[in-house]
Structure formats: C-alpha cells, structure tokens
Amino acid sequence: MTDIIVDLIITLVKIGFILAVTVGFFAPILTWVERKQSAIMQDRIGANRADIMGFRALGLFHILADALKMFTKEDFIPDGADKVMHTLSPIIALVPAIITFAVVPFGGQYTLFGKEVSLVISDLDVGLLFVFAIASLATYGYVIAGWSSNNNWSMLGSMRTASQMISYEVAMGLTIIGVLMVYGTMRLTEIGAIQENFFRWGIFLQPVGFFMFFTASIAENKRIPFDNPEAESELVAGYFTEYSGLKFGMFFMAEFIEMVTIAALITLLFFGAWHVPFLGTATLISLFDFLGATGSNIVAMLFHVGVFFAKVTFFIWVQMTIRWTLPRFRYDQIMNLGWKILLPLSLANIVVTGIIILALA
C-alpha cells in the first residue's frame, strides 16, 4: 500500500514539474523572448515600457502586464457564432499541447533512496506515436475555431490549417519511421538511453531525417514561414480573428508550448536527449561518489535535467531565429514543399535507411 502512495507522490511531483516548466515557465517567458529577440534582430529597443516603480527588468514585467490584460479584457463572442464550439476550440488546441509531455522523458533512470526513479510521467511502449496522435488532435481546435467564428477570414484560416496540417503530418510521420528503424523502439526513454553513446545520436544516424522533421514540425506549429493559417496581412488573424482575452491567450500559449514540444522532441530524437558527449551516466555518478549513493544520483539527475532543458532552450532559440529571419511562404509553395519535396524525400530516406541497416547487419 505504501508503495502505491510513494509511486503516486512521485508521479504527481513529475506532473507538477512538467506543468511548472511548460505552462509556468516556458510559455510566459517565451512571449518576452519573442519580442526581445525580434527587437535585437531588427535593431530595435524592444519591449521595455512596463515598469514597476521605475524598475524595468529588461522588459520582463511585460509578462505580468500581458497576463493582466488578458484576464481583464472582454471575452467577446461574435454574433451568429456557435457559442459552445467557439468556447471549446481554444481548449481543444491547448490541452493536447500539454498532454504530449506525459510521455516525454526529461532525464534517465536514477536510484534515489533505494528506489528506481525514471524521469518520465508515463513510459509508454508507443511513446513516439502517442505524441503524434495527441498532437494531431490539436488540429481540431484551430479548425473549429475558424468555423465557429462565423467570419470569412477565420473560415479561410481554418481551411488553410486543415490542409497544411494534413500535408505535413504525412511527411512528418514518414520521417519518424527512419528514426524508428535506426533505434528499433518507439519507447522514448529507450531512444534517449541509446544515445548515451555519442556516435549513436540521431543527427548522425538520420541527418536528412532531422532537417525534414524540423521543417515539418515548424509547419505543423503554423509559425512563420508557414503561418498561412493566420497570415495577418491577408486574413486579419486567420482562425483566431474573433478571439479576445484569455481565449486568445490560450491559442498563443498552445503555440509556445508546441515550440517547447518540438524542441524537446528534436533533443530527444536527434541530439542525445539528456546526455553529454563522452560522459556516460555511470561515469557521471562515479565522479560524485563521495556524496554517497543517493547524493551522487541526485547530482547526476539534476545535471541531466539541466542538460536536457539547456538543449531544449537552444532549439527554441533556433526556431525563434528562423521565425524572425524568413518571410512567409506562399500557399502553393507550402503545398509543393510538403507533397513534392518532403514526401518523396522521406520515402527515399526510409529506403536508404533500410538498405544501410541491411548492409550493416
């Protein structure tokens, strides 16, 4: 009985940690990073107006100001809109983005106080597929948002979302097959553990796969250069034109959390997860042997979690840089890239990977 309670507490702590990191830390801080980084890249001063008693803290108070604004703004539902669906869609968009983290491991396995603790909320056999299955459900949030708004701009936005998401999901799913072939497992913890060996990092085993996955995942997140669904110069704001206040905030938050998901998946699949090159877990623990069994494990755990989130932060930075560097693609260019370049390339990637695996076996 006590075992169950201990397990329950450990799981709750892990869930709390993931929520704190994604919803509590990354989502709000990224609103600030987005403005600040774009300002630096465009040689502007950037967000620095919000101050408390003259303190500006590099514009960090804008996060508080944003939150206050979203909570106090009028929650507007347009005339002729489907009220239930209009309210439901931001929730459908946000929830899957958070749920995907249930299977994303942010560290390895450690022995704390004689108990094996694995740093993942749920270690599913179909982990990788789970991420895609849940992430694909978010599409409905965007599609229904546009449809229920009773606005032609929104409608066009959600039609573009539907076609774009379908197109890139195909390419993305086929890209992932290459990754599955080289690792031979869908369990994300195992994929992470394999990459303890530096030469087994995904970027070396699936170099083409990495670029295709990155492209497809940015397209899935609908950020520039793939932001046709919201294209503010053509469609006002696309599918969320008719949203205000906290519901608009939820769409925004979903986008930022998806950025974290993408960065986490890229770290996990292609860049050695929580490992540092040439520093195995066993070596790391033996380095801190003087702290005792539990102490050295705790140090290793904290080190790995730190490394993992440092990598995640780096890939968020890469996404931000891409977003503020490239212009928006045209709609036909997006479709061509998805169907005529990424899809054949991902199929070729599978064939070539298969041949190499057979040749080496």
Binding site: D82, M85, L124, D125, V126, L129, F130, F132, A133, I134, S136, L137, T139, Y140, V143, I144, W147, S148, M155, S158, M159, A162, S163, M165, I166, E169, M186
Partner: protein, 169 residues
Amino acid sequence: MELFFFIPIALLSVLLAFGVVFNKSPIGSAVSLIGMMLCLAGVFVIQSAHFLAILQVLIYAGAIMVLFMFVIMLLNLKTAEDTVWKAREHNTLLSVLTGFLVLGLVYKLVEIATDANFGPGMPVAENFGTTEMVGAKLFTDYVLPFEVASILLLVAMIGALVLAKTKTD
C-alpha cells in the same frame, strides 16, 4: 476496476454515436464522431491493446476526420432542415432489405451476448498489444491479408487519382 472505466466510456461512445446521427449541423456530427472514436480508443486501452488504441487516435481521429472537416467546410454544408426525414415510396424495397440486415445484426449481437463469458478474463501475455507483437503477427500469421489490404488501398489511391485527373483536363 475495469468496469469502473469501461461503463462510462462505453455509455459516452453510444451517446456520441447517437449525436452523429441526430446532430443538425454537419460539423457537430463530425465532432461527435471524433469523440466517439476517442472513446473507442479508450475501450482498446482497457483491453490492453495500446498500439491499436494509438492508431485509432492517430489515423481515425487525427487524420481522416480532419479531412472530413475540411470537406464539410469546403462544401460549406448548412444546418439540416427539419423536413429531411420523410419516407419515399421508391425506397420501400431498399428500406425492407435494410430492415432484414438490421434483424440479422440484432440476431448476431444476441448470439454473441449469450455466448459471452462474463467471468474473470483470461490473463494475457506480457507483451500483448505492444507494437512488437502486433508487427510480428502482422508479418507472419497475417501477412497475406495484410498485403491484400495494402494492394486494395493502392488500387483505391490510383483510382482516386485517375478520377480526379479526368475531371480537371
């Protein structure tokens, strides 16, 4: 414990299935259908067929229904009128035949229900429902149906392409 999860999920899926039929707006029907598919995935999870459950979500709820939605929006289907439900004379034969089909279905359902073993379930193998086992079964015991289904899908795909092409030319 199993029933504790099964009963609400099963009830909800039946409810949502009725929602698909009786909802007036096409998008509402589609959303009900998505919900029902998610419930079915839940039933699969209870049966410890995790791989099947994930595929149910990924393919049916995640991909096919997005296309359904897309088509509904593209055709801009309006909310159904109240007078759609009307018996038509020239459909009588079809209706009677359908009635017989339903009778057969009910008979089969009753048969299954009476034969069902409601005792404690059989223990399943350790790796039951995992990707590995489904893959092994699919490529050894069921390789012929698997390949036939693949060819059928390929034919359907090519057929769709040919149909679309002749229309645009």
